[in-house]
Amino acid sequence: MPSHDLSSPPAPGQSICRSCWLAAPGLLWMGLFFLAPLALVFAISFASRGTYGGIVWEFTAANYLDLWHPLYGKILGQSLWYASLTTAICFVLGFPLAYMIARSPARWQPVLLLLVMLPFWTNFLVRTYAWMIVLRQDGLLNGLLLALGIVDAPLELLYTPTAVVIGLVYGYLPFMVLPLYVAVERLDPLLVEAAWDLYASRWAIFTRVVVPLTMPGIVGGCVLVFIPSIGSFITPDLLGGARSMMIGNLIQHEYLVVRDWPLGSAVSFVLMAIVMAAVALYYRHAARTAGPTEKR
């Protein structure tokens, strides 16, 4: 990749460039208010809790060991499950959408993309709240189902895992569509035709040509949906009940309700580890797919 030579003007000589110091205030800020707090959380996760909240600075791994407790394990497990399910549903919904946008007339594409992205730019709380109206016991969806005679009694929708997953899918669908759109847009339609000409059925075209060639977009979209889903707080807080708690709620609970900061910190770092694993997966895949095409 020689492109980076073009992106930055040639650095004059070997000396430290003067304009580089412009970055210092921002870096300092990020060090002070981002890295330092994270380090603090990390440190506290190995401390123990004082009798009345507070922190006792004694090194212990007890907080991490406590996480093996079935109660926390259940929350961790269902967080992973909700996030995975959300990712899968977003893919099933998002792929046709992305494909349709990428194959529509060029002047419509920005408009359609904007339509998909627009909800994302509106207030997340408000959007989640909108689903409360729809899913309430006397809400719109139940009204509709009753009126159509599909159900006899209103369904329990709000404050269920279903509601949480619906909310998550709703919140992060655009994250799936965008990278998929980019990948499908880059996919040469002639390759689809070539496969079709070579006796491939629709399904074979999808699995053997479209999916392998849009893999970077698929992985990107899945990671981009999974990361905010696994760390979400608002959605399970508003749409879920006490039984559909996720890691984010647990962290908030430990910090603000129980005031067990060390345990909350440990949970935070487990969450961060999961997120980082997803990111690592993404970069490993990106590196692998970039590999063979670059050497010639």
């Binding site: 580089c20 959408l97 207030n123 909108a130 962290i251």
Partner: protein, 257 residues
């Protein structure tokens, strides 16, 4: 592949309905005269009027705007300088910083919130408007830096070389060439930072003291404390504001091209 496009269109249509249905319902119900039930009792604007007389709400709005304004200015200055400063760094260092800047955007916001709260508590800083602003600048710096860097990279290096060749010193090159070319990107970044700050709930939730209630915090407590129709109106207004910001930002970015 025209033959199978009906299926695609159907799923896409459903996805669009899914994306916009709830929002439309919300806006619609903000005009519903019924007080408690979901049944339709005629059209009214009274919930919007009620918002106007809600003192606490107006105070929260003022807080939100103040926080968004200050944090946007702070983040734009710090982030903009960072983008400019990174330009001439060795490539390795640029990549390192860039990777680091993605971190605040991908780590769960809950975590950023509690981490900042811990820091402020440890530093014995009273939670309030100041701490909220400090926190908002943290997640806005990466946004601004990335947006301005993207634009900087697209600039033709020959333009600046030409200016230098014509006798401009480095400050003049910046003042008369780089800055005017960056202006649309800067305004775009300002709008994005402002919108994100205005909409932020989680970092604010953990770093705001009792005296620094913002609009999202107010909305949250209204939702939690039992639904009143007022909140529908407030939500509809917030939707409108966000969309206006997006429209403006897109308009600016279009001119950029």
């Amino acid at each position: 592949m025209r033959r199978g496009s009906t299926g695609l269109t159907l799923v896409s249509g459903l996805a669009m309905l899914f994306l916009y249905g709830p929002i439309l319902v919300l806006v619609l119900y903000s005009f519903n005269a019924a007080h408690l039930s979901m049944a339709w009792r005629g059209t009214t604007l009274k919930w919007y009027a009620a918002l106007w007389h809600d003192e606490a709400l107006l105070a929260a709005t003022a807080n939100s705007l103040f926080i968004a304004a200050i944090s946007t200015i702070g983040a734009t200055v710090l982030g903009g300088l960072m983008a400019l400063g990174m330009e001439r760094m060795p490539l390795r260092r640029q990549q390192l910083i860039e990777g680091g800047l993605v971190l605040p955007l991908i780590i769960p916001e809950v975590m950023l919130g509690v981490a900042l709260m811990l820091l402020f508590v440890m530093l014995k800083m009273p939670l309030g408007l100041t701490t909220v602003i400090l926190g908002h600048i943290v997640f806005n710096i990466p946004l601004v830096t990335i947006m301005i860097r993207t634009r900087l990279r697209k600039l033709d290096p020959a333009l600046r070389e030409a200016a230098a060749d014509l006798g401009a010193d480095s400050w003049q090159v910046f003042r008369h060439v780089t800055l005017p070319l960056l202006r649309p990107a800067i305004w775009g970044a300002v709008l994005v930072a402002f919108t994100v700050s205005l909409d932020d709930f989680l970092v604010t939730f953990f770093t705001a003291g009792p005296g620094a209630t913002t609009l999202p915090l107010k909305v949250y407590s209204m939702i939690k404390s039992g639904v009143t129709p007022e909140i529908n109106a407030l939500s509809a207004l917030l939707l409108l504001i966000s969309m206006a910001c997006v429209a403006l930002s897109l308009h600016l970015q279009r001119r950029e091209v």
